[in-house]
Amino acid sequence: MTGRLLLTIAHRLAILAYIVFALFPLFWLLKVSVTPNDLLYSEGVRLWPSHATLDHYRFVLENSAFPTFFKNSLIVAGSTSVAVTALSSLAGYALSRFRFRGKYALVALMLITQMFPLVMLVAPIFKMLSPLGLTNSLTGLVIVYTAFNVPFATFLMQSFFDGIPKDLEEAAMIDGASRFVAFRQIILPLTLPGIAATLGFVFTAAWSELLFALMLISGNASATFPVGLLTFVSKFSVDFGQMMAAGVMALIPACLFFLLIQRYLVQGLTAGAVKG
């Protein structure tokens, strides 16, 4: 009995240690963002500054280009996640349900695209986009992000479709639905958790992408937020307070987004569909 209790306590402690370890950088982000500049170095590693301030936030919002970065990131991440989810759910459905010529070659090809380090691709992509006028534009970024995320998202969606019994759409088709109507009315509602997961995954990936944003965008007008963060690093100093304040604000949409979709992520919608 006591052995079991000890085990439970040890288990909870291990989880607690993990959570502290994982969340500590976030806490530090928050802490530095409210620390006045004059205390930043003098108070060193104190867990909380002796007096907190929102000056950095005010400065970032009023005097920097951060609102523009924020808006750009929102546009890019939002469009990318919607485009990728729409494409990958159709492609994933096809991979899950249909037998067609070249299916395995296609899957192999999609896997291969995931093997290259992105750095290798920066130059050719820049070369391709620049004559099209897509460098230094948000559209260009959305296209590139979509291209890179579709293969993985397709596999993700395929696994969700695989989890939905084929009988369901067959029953719908016998009930009088075309395949597309069965997909829309029966399969899609059951795949909402998968769609939410894919949306969330792609949104955060596009939200925090730096390499391509840095290489394809020059100038503040169409810079995304990760690129914008770098503007707080000047040749002679790093403005940590403002940088962290911007970072905290950049977390907000991601948090809101996951708050919105978490109910689908945890919901087992297919329960009761078939025997079980």
């Binding site: 369901l168 067959e170 029953a171 088709m173 009930d175 009088g176 075309s178 009761g272 569909a273 025997k275």
Partner: protein, 358 residues
């Protein structure tokens, strides 16, 4: 209601043939049961009628119209799946009315159809529930309700009872039979359970290895199995088989079993002298007779079933079963003498096909 005709219908995946040419004419209102072991092609055949599998060769007609290329939604048939395949995000009422809503029937017609079906199936208290809040038997009923609300041309059942426990299965079996009696709808029912086949069917189609073995009324298959497969598959416990050689006399034949035991038959059978033949007899037709019994058998195992007793015997070293309602046999000794009534014997030739009856 409709008639369904299959003419040389076959299915192959690439070069692999999974279903040989099947010919079957299903009359309006018939209850056809496709029965066979798993992998025999019965489900594939059903799915081809439903339009869920493409037909590789042959013609499928419903009410005289060729429907090979018609999509499932345009064939006007209903199907009950083994997994029930209820839409989990819809209530019971919505599950049942889905087909009518797709056809844009008026609200009054839908409400009427759903309430009629739910009353028939005892689902009234559950109409607002989701499938996951139902028991297995209730889900099964909803699946049936979904099929009957729209009055289709034909019902297809794909092992609908295999996921239920024994008691519920028995109950639903009777219910399906009663419903068929009331609706008189043409039905095709797939099962691997020969008891379901025997009890439900107006005609049974016994299948094995992608080919139809025999088509006939249940008792036809029981009394006159066309070959060894049907003989062994229909009936429980299964038929006993004894292999031997034919010995032709002047007017009568005899079968000589491996250990030299000679079994005279009352007539001449159409087999060459010395040809291999197989004798079959159902366990319930074997008699026990201490004096007259012609074969001595060793008792291996005794299984009382309540109704009677199944004896597992060894006859000349071969396993042999006997079923009797005589309870005294539960305490039978290690050995007994059995008789094989000639009028109950089935004879099969070298290829396993039924020979002229005794």
């Amino acid at each position: 209601m409709a008639s369904i005709a299959l003419s040389r219908v076959g299915k192959s995946f690439g070069t692999v043939s999974v279903l040989n040419e099947v010919d079957l004419a299903i009359e309006d209102g018939e209850f056809i049961v496709l029965v066979g072991p798993s992998g025999c092609g019965k489900s594939t055949l059903l799915r081809m009628i439903a339009g869920l599998e493409e037909i590789t060769t042959g013609t499928l007609t419903i009410d005289g119209e060729r429907v090979n290329e018609r999509r499932p939604k345009d064939r006007d048939i209903a199907m009950v799946f083994q997994s029930y395949a209820l839409y989990p995000h819809m209530s019971v009422a919505d599950n049942m009315s889905y087909s009518l809503r797709l056809r844009r029937r008026s609200k009054e017609i839908i409400a009427q159809a759903v309430s009629a079906a739910s009353a028939k199936l005892g689902l009234d208290p559950y109409l607002e529930r989701r499938p996951k809040a139902l028991s297995g038997g209730q889900r099964q009923r909803v699946a049936m309700g979904r099929a009957i609300v729209r009055k289709p041309k034909a019902f297809l059942f794909d092992e609908p009872l295999s996921n239920l426990d024994a008691r519920l299965r028995e109950q639903m079996r009777a219910e399906i039979k009663r419903m068929h009696g009331e609706l008189g709808a043409t039905s095709v029912y797939v099962t691997h359970d020969q008891i379901e086949a025997m009890t439900l069917a107006s005609r049974i189609v016994a299948m094995n290895a992608g080919a139809v073995q025999q088509i006939g009324a249940p008792l036809d298959l029981y009394d006159r199995p066309a070959n060894l497969f049907v003989a062994g598959f229909i009936g429980s416990p299964g038929m006993n088989f004894l292999e031997g050689r034919c010995e032709q006399g002047a007017d009568t034949s005899a079968v000589v079993l491996p250990k030299g035991f000679r079994l005279p038959l009352p007539l001449r059978i159409p087999a060459a002298d010395g040809e291999k033949v197989t004798l079959g007899i159902r366990p319930e037709h074997v008699t026990v007779d201490a004096q007259q019994g012609e074969i001595e058998a060793a008792v291996e195992l005794v299984e009382p079933t309540g109704l009677g007793v199944i004896l597992h015997l060894l006859v000349h070293g071969e396993p042999f079963k006997l079923f009797s309602t005589d309870r005294a046999l539960i305490r039978s000794g290690a050995r007994l003498r059995i008789g094989l009534p000639r009028e109950r014997l089935h004879l099969f030739d070298q290829a396993g096909n039924r020979m002229a009856a005794l």
